[in-house]
């Protein structure tokens, strides 16, 4: 993949976007009737389904329940057909466990868990098609599902993956851009306060570029939050119209 030009001279990327453009976001809330909250989110070609159950009593190990707050339990899995080569182990491997831990950490910071002591909130996320930015799409989908479930949160949790190519930060990486050895930074942000819930970066990046990259990531996340906000308001309108009838 060394020959692929990730950023052309005119400033266009592989899929024709500019450096700071996000992919097209399409989302639906309230997808499943059984779950307390559910959402489906597409960001470009990456598709994710998120389902939230809770808050309910702690199932299984009673000793894990916390006396002053709710426990958040996350499970991340990828469908076997989601990647170019069929995935042999959808869950239980190290990467999925790590991703589940990161999601859990992100939402523990954002959800007001003190309101539900001794209870448990389950988040299940499944990637149906993976085209880069898996973590970010999961976080965005899970945020919508949480809102659908009516669980109180401090703010929207928006995430975005940004990369650094030719001294320019690229927002919302796709799979081809991620694999090319580009330094990618995944950031989960609470937009109003500018607080970072999770920060993750791989591959080499000079320290001087870190600030620029983080700024780009935060701007991208704020853009995502606007889109999510619109989706939520539209959904509310539809639901209220339906229930009024």
């Amino acid at each position: 993949m060394a020959g692929l030009e990730l950023l052309s001279d005119q400033g266009y990327r592989l899929d024709g976007r500019k450096a700071t453009e996000l992919r097209k976001v399409q989302a639906r809330m309230g997808v499943f009737a059984q779950a307390d909250g559910s959402a489906y989110l597409e960001q470009g070609n990456t598709k994710a389904l998120a389902v939230v159950y809770g808050p309910h009593e702690v199932r299984g190990a009673r000793s894990r329940s916390r006396h002053d707050r709710a426990m958040i339990n996350c499970q991340y899995s990828m469908a076997t057909f989601s990647t170019a080569e069929r995935k042999r182990r959808p869950h239980g491997d190290r990467k999925s466990t790590e991703m589940s831990l990161h999601l859990k950490q992100t939402f523990e910071a954002a959800v007001m868990t003190q309101l539900y002591p001794r209870s448990q909130i389950d988040i299940f996320v499944k990637i149906l098609q993976s085209d880069g930015g898996n973590y970010s799409v999961c976080v965005n989908a899970a945020t919508l599902a949480m809102i659908d479930a009516g669980i109180p949160m401090r703010d929207y949790v928006c995430a975005c993956t940004v990369g650094f190519v030719d001294e320019t930060p690229l927002a919302d990486l796709c799979y081809a851009e991620e694999g090319g050895g580009v330094s990618s930074l995944a950031l989960a942000l609470l937009p109003r306060g500018g607080q970072i819930a999770l920060l993750q970066m791989d591959a080499r990046l000079h320290q001087d570029h870190l600030e620029a990259l983080m700024e780009a990531a935060m701007t991208a996340c704020k853009g995502v939050s606007k889109v999510l906000d619109e989706v939520v308001r539209l959904h509310l309108q539809e639901v209220s119209v339906l229930s009024a009838e």
Partner: protein
């Protein structure tokens, strides 16, 4: 085995100390603990001591078939073992959250940053490549496992020598260490991770947390950098929310620390090379200073005593006045005691009562016993008046009170002995 939970008072104490910018072992906010790097006898074996945290890394290599997607690159495999040897909280065999977290962080820190030239590990493209396996074992857990593991892993990789390979046409010969000297791996850069712990929702920050500090922390930020100021990996964990300025500040601190640690690392490698050349003894056994393998050597830590004496005086003054001296017990008759000034003890004070008692117990020799008792009492009275430091308490109208003396027991025994003799 479940780890003992941290008590609330210990937690409060630690948090309060951190608010006052004090750490348990007297370090400053940005100080690392004492770090020691030693090597084992084989190439690729490295021990790192970070304070009391002890970690061992071993590198080994093997010829395998390469991955299909990358036919001309070698394979790197990392594994961190959390054995119950390190801490009672670790369970054998179970893949706990911490184990997954550490493994993934080490993988991302070393593999994704491409610190090793994997193409040089290729022997026959598409058929045989070297698989380098780094096993990190935790020997003692006293906080900050990630940093110690990353330092151990990269040092072991720098120290490792792989067997030399010769290719003649289609034939591949792997030379043993005796035939040809093994060659080192080609390492581009040395990523080292630095851990920052946050307390009180991100208000306070500490570098290199020890185990106690780790238990009370809100969250952890791990930054892996090399000495060229390139960031290899950043990972935030725990449920804290960071601000951009905090992250920038941490990266600046990390760059300073990483350059110091890299210097120490290089020095250790050079020393080891020299020692091996001179034929000196090297190895795990040599790295322990004393003969006893079970010894845990503690260095002297300085304790801050600046205002300790003043505070101690304050506390003593504020404390209640010393309680009144309790009067020593009063003994009217040998074998009977009275403490304090309560109700007047009428046990055996009267001579008549004494006689009655004795009459009950023994028929014969009453008068003799009586005489004996009287004599004893007189003797005691004489003694009592003789003593100067005796506490006279009661103002009874009855006869003089007899004070208990250390020598009493003998006399009491003597009296009892005489009494029993008379009885028999």
């Amino acid at each position: 085995m479940k780890d003992t939970p941290l008590s609330n008072c210990e937690r409060d104490f630690l948090l309060k100390a951190i608010e006052e910018k004090k750490r348990l072992d007297g370090r400053q906010t940005y100080d690392y603990r004492k770090m020691k790097i030693t090597f084992g006898t084989d190439y690729g074996c490295c021990f790192v001591d970070l304070g009391k945290t002890r970690v061992m890394a071993q590198v080994s290599c093997e010829l395998v078939a390469p991955k299909e997607s990358r036919p001309n690159e070698g394979i790197m495999f990392f594994n961190i073992e959390l054995s119950p040897m390190a801490s009672p909280a670790f369970e054998q065999g179970r893949q706990s959250e911490l184990s997954v977290k550490l493994n993934r962080q080490l993988e991302r820190c070393l593999r994704n940053s491409k610190c090793i030239d994997t193409e040089s590990l290729c022997v026959v493209s598409g058929e045989k490549v070297w698989q380098i396996r780094v096993d990190v074992h935790l020997l003692n857990h006293d906080g900050n496992l990630m940093d110690a593991a990353s330092i151990a892993a990269i040092t072991a990789l720098c120290h490792f020598r792989r067997p030399d390979v010769g290719i003649q046409g289609d034939e591949v010969t792997v030379y043993s260490p005796e035939e040809r000297d093994p060659i080192p791996l080609s390492i581009y850069h040395m990523p080292i991770s630095v851990s920052f712990s946050f307390f009180q929702q991100g208000t306070y920050l500490l570098v290199d947390p020890c185990e106690r500090e780790e238990r009370v922390m809100d969250g952890l930020l791990m930054i892996a950098m090399n000495k060229h100021r390139e960031i290899c990996s950043i990972q935030s964990s725990g449920g804290i929310m960071l601000l951009k300025e905090q992250v920038m500040r941490c990266s600046k601190i990390a760059s300073v620390k990483v350059s110091e640690i890299t210097e120490l690392l290089n020095k250790a490698l050079v020393n080891d090379k020299k020692a091996r050349k001179e034929g000196g003894r090297c190895g795990f056994a040599e790295s322990l200073p004393q003969e006893r393998i079970t010894a845990l050597k503690m260095e002297e830590t300085s304790v801050e005593m600046t205002d300790a004496t003043e505070r101690a005086k304050d506390i003593v003054q504020k404390a209640d006045a010393r309680p009144q001296k309790v009067p020593s017990p009063v003994v009217p008759v040998p074998g009977v005691g009275q403490v304090g000034q309560g109700l007047q003890n009428t046990w055996g004070l009267e001579e008549d009562e004494d006689d009655e008692e004795e009459a009950e117990e023994c028929d014969s020799g009453e008068e003799q016993e009586e005489a004996v008792t009287k004599m004893e009492e007189e003797r005691h009275e004489k003694e009592a008046s003789g003593e100067g430091d005796v506490v006279e308490i009661s103002d009874s109208e009855e006869e003089d009170v007899v004070i208990l003396h250390p020598a009493m027991p003998d006399k009491a025994l003597k009296w009892v002995h005489q009494f029993s003799m008379h009885c028999n």
